[in-house]
């Protein structure tokens, strides 16, 4: 799987991760190495095998009753906000 700087940037954009141009060669090298390593999985015959997304499946977890429970973390939580405007979290404009 060819990974180049362009792909790294595309993925970095999806992940909202700034990648400095100086890091590109290293990342290309590392990701290429890792993806080459995981290529070995392609050799396996997985036809008819169900994927495991949760090892706990089959367990019966009861669902939560629809009841309101008060929670008083809002002040502590808002206090952690890097920027706020009264009751709101504030961020730079979305555009």
């Amino acid at each position: 799987m060819p990974i180049d700087a362009k792909v790294v940037h595309q993925v970095a954009t999806l992940a909202r991760l700034h990648v400095d141009p100086s890091e590109e060669p290293r990342l290309v090298k590392e990701l290429t190495a890792i993806l080459s390593y995981v290529e070995q999985l392609q050799a396996l015959d997985v036809s008819g095998i169900e994927p495991t997304s949760q090892v706990g499946e089959g367990a019966k977890a009861p669902l939560r009753e629809d009841q309101v429970k008060p929670c008083d973390v809002r002040d502590e939580a808002l206090a952690q906000a890097p920027d706020r405007d009264g009751d709101y979290f504030r961020v730079p404009q979305v555009v």
């Binding site: 792909v7 790294v8 993925v11 970095a12 954009t13 999806l14 992940a15 909202r16 991760l17 700034h18 990648v19 400095d20 990342l27 590392e30 990701l31 190495a33 890792i34 993806l35 390593y37 995981v38 070995q40 999985l41 392609q42 396996l44 997985v46 095998i49 169900e50 994927p51 495991t52 997304s53 949760q54 090892v55 706990g56 367990a59 977890a61 009861p62 939560r64 973390v73 502590e76 939580a77 952690q80 906000a81 890097p82 920027d83 979290f89 961020v91 730079p92 404009q93 979305v94 555009v95």
Partner: protein, 495 residues
């Protein structure tokens, strides 16, 4: 070697002494706090320590003892917590700059349980950033050192939790294990480390790395102590839908029953890939002893286990890339100043996350992205099924599987940091059990000629942590205490 055991040596004896009022919790806490004052600056085991708070917690336990309350076996026991466990009002950074100064407004489930039990917290231990790593060198703050050789790594990601118990700065500790992050540092630091069955311990309040793999696990210096701590934290929590009622406390006396008639399996096929000869030799010694004690040791195969690393390094980063999306500078943690939102996101995360974390986020995002999902993530999930089946089959023939925890003894700081793949290959023996969701225990089995700890691993059937501890306890009794205590505890230690 039979010397009179110090009452502070095990959590079990501390607990007894405190409840019987032979020692006050404050007295006990002071000993551990003073030790930490001496060794922690050199070992760098803690990201957050507050001696006053620790002593205050101990004083509180003494009050409860005086009031005649019936207390848990862990009351008064000094316990350290990995810094990815949420502690209300106490800094929880996960070893990352992006959460520098973050104070959770709630306690993790396990923290709640331990508080109620009267545990005395010694502090928040250092770890690889967001639990990603095998050496604790990925902590954004500083690396932790191995108490047995300060030039070497303690393992990771729960390096701080392992080292602090090994160095007797705490009697017990909690870490988290996703691909080996409790077991491997346990082996490197010469202590016991348990990764419970997936779902045995609630993950509510454990900062998520890879949700389908993460489990909180205890570190201790004896098998019985592991059980004591496990018992206090296991079981269904309604706040974690993946936690299971099947997880029941272990009967401590059952650990003394020996291994007569038990069947132990060794996956020879997996061991063909390069194991350090001293570790192999240790495995042989333990095998011999277990046979002498009446266990039947047979060969088993785990044909797909060799694909575990590849499988894991697709699944875990994929889940992590999603779990770490919430660190966006909007509601908490670090935020890079910017004029617009997209730049804010990108610089916050670019600056706030370290190299390994960024690498894994990129890898995971790629593995999930359009066009690649089938070839990578989906395929990995299918191989995971094959690995699980291997374990199911092997465990139909055996009560437990025995194998090394790591392929090598503890390596030197800086040795593998620049080669991520080389670092990942350390996990060859620990990842398979993680993929299967099976309980897995690393126990100290000896040391290398140069005095470094060796650990071996037992993997069992779901919810049979007790079986694993029983085998380890048998070895523990037979082996005596080969390691002793690291020199740093008494002011020594190579540095």
């Amino acid at each position: 070697m039979s010397r009179k055991p110090d009452v502070l040596e095990t959590a079990e004896s501390i607990g007894h002494a405190v409840r019987k009022r032979e020692r006050s919790a404050v007295e006990v806490a002071r000993v551990f706090v003073e030790r930490a004052e001496r060794s922690a600056p050199r070992l760098q085991t803690y990201l957050h320590r507050d001696a006053e708070r620790t002593l205050a917690m101990a004083a509180d336990v003494d009050r409860r003892v005086q009031a005649g309350e019936t207390l848990s076996p862990l009351a008064g026991v000094p316990i350290a917590l990995k810094d990815n466990l949420c502690t209300h009002g106490v800094p929880t950074t996960c070893g990352s700059r992006i959460l520098e100064g973050y104070l959770p407004p709630y306690d993790a489930h396990v923290v709640e349980r331990l508080r109620a039990a009267g545990a005395v917290f010694t502090g928040k231990t250092n770890c690889d950033e967001f639990a990603m790593g095998s050496s604790t060198e990925n902590s954004a703050y500083f690396p932790t050192r191995n108490p047995w050789d300060l030039e070497r790594v303690p393992g990771g990601s729960s390096g701080g939790s392992a080292a602090t118990v090994a160095a007797l700065e705490a009697s017990l500790s909690l870490g988290s294990d996703t691909g080996g992050s409790v077991r491997q540092p346990a082996a490197f630091c010469g202590v016991f480390g348990l990764k419970p069955t997936y779902g045995a311990v609630s993950r509510y309040g454990l900062v998520a790395f890879a949700s389908s793999l993460d489990q909180i696990g205890p570190f201790a210096r004896t098998a019985r102590d592991v059980a004591l701590l496990f018992n206090e934290i296991c079981g269904r929590d309604e706040r974690d839908m993946t936690s299971r009622a099947e997880a029941k406390p272990i009967d401590l006396e059952g650990l003394e029953r020996g291994v007569k008639g038990m069947k132990i399996g060794i996956p020879r096929d997996l061991l063909s890939d390069g194991v350090d000869p001293e570790i192999s030799a240790s495995l042989d010694r333990v095998t011999k002893t277990l046979r002498e004690e009446g266990a039947v040791v047979i060969d088993v195969t785990l044909p797909h286990a060799r694909y575990s690393i590849a499988t894991y390094y697709l699944i875990a980063p994929a889940e992590a890339s999603s779990n770490l999306a919430r660190y966006d500078g909007v509601r908490y943690g670090f935020r890079a100043k910017s004029e617009d939102l997209q730049t804010m996101y990108a610089s916050t995360r670019g600056k706030g996350f370290g190299r390994e974390v960024r690498r894994r986020i990129l890898l995971g995002t790629y593995a999930l992205s359009a066009g690649y999902y089938d070839a990578y993530y989906l395929r990995a999930m299918k191989v995971r099924t094959l690995v699980r089946r291997d374990f199911d089959q092997a465990l139909q023939l055996t009560d437990a599987i025995l194998l090394p925890t790591t392929p090598t003894p503890p390596f030197k700081l800086g040795e593998k940091v620049d080669d991520p793949l080389a670092m990942y290959l350390n996990d060859i023996f620990s990842i398979p059990a993680s993929l299967a969701g099976a309980p897995a225990l690393s126990f100290p089995s000896g040391k290398t000629r140069s005095g470094l700890p060796i650990g071996l691993q037992l993997v069992g059937k779901p919810f049979e942590e007790g079986t694993l501890l029983r085998v380890a306890r048998t070895w523990e009794k037979k082996s005596g205490d080969p390691l002793g205590v690291p020199p740093i505890v008494n002011g020594g230690g190579r540095a």
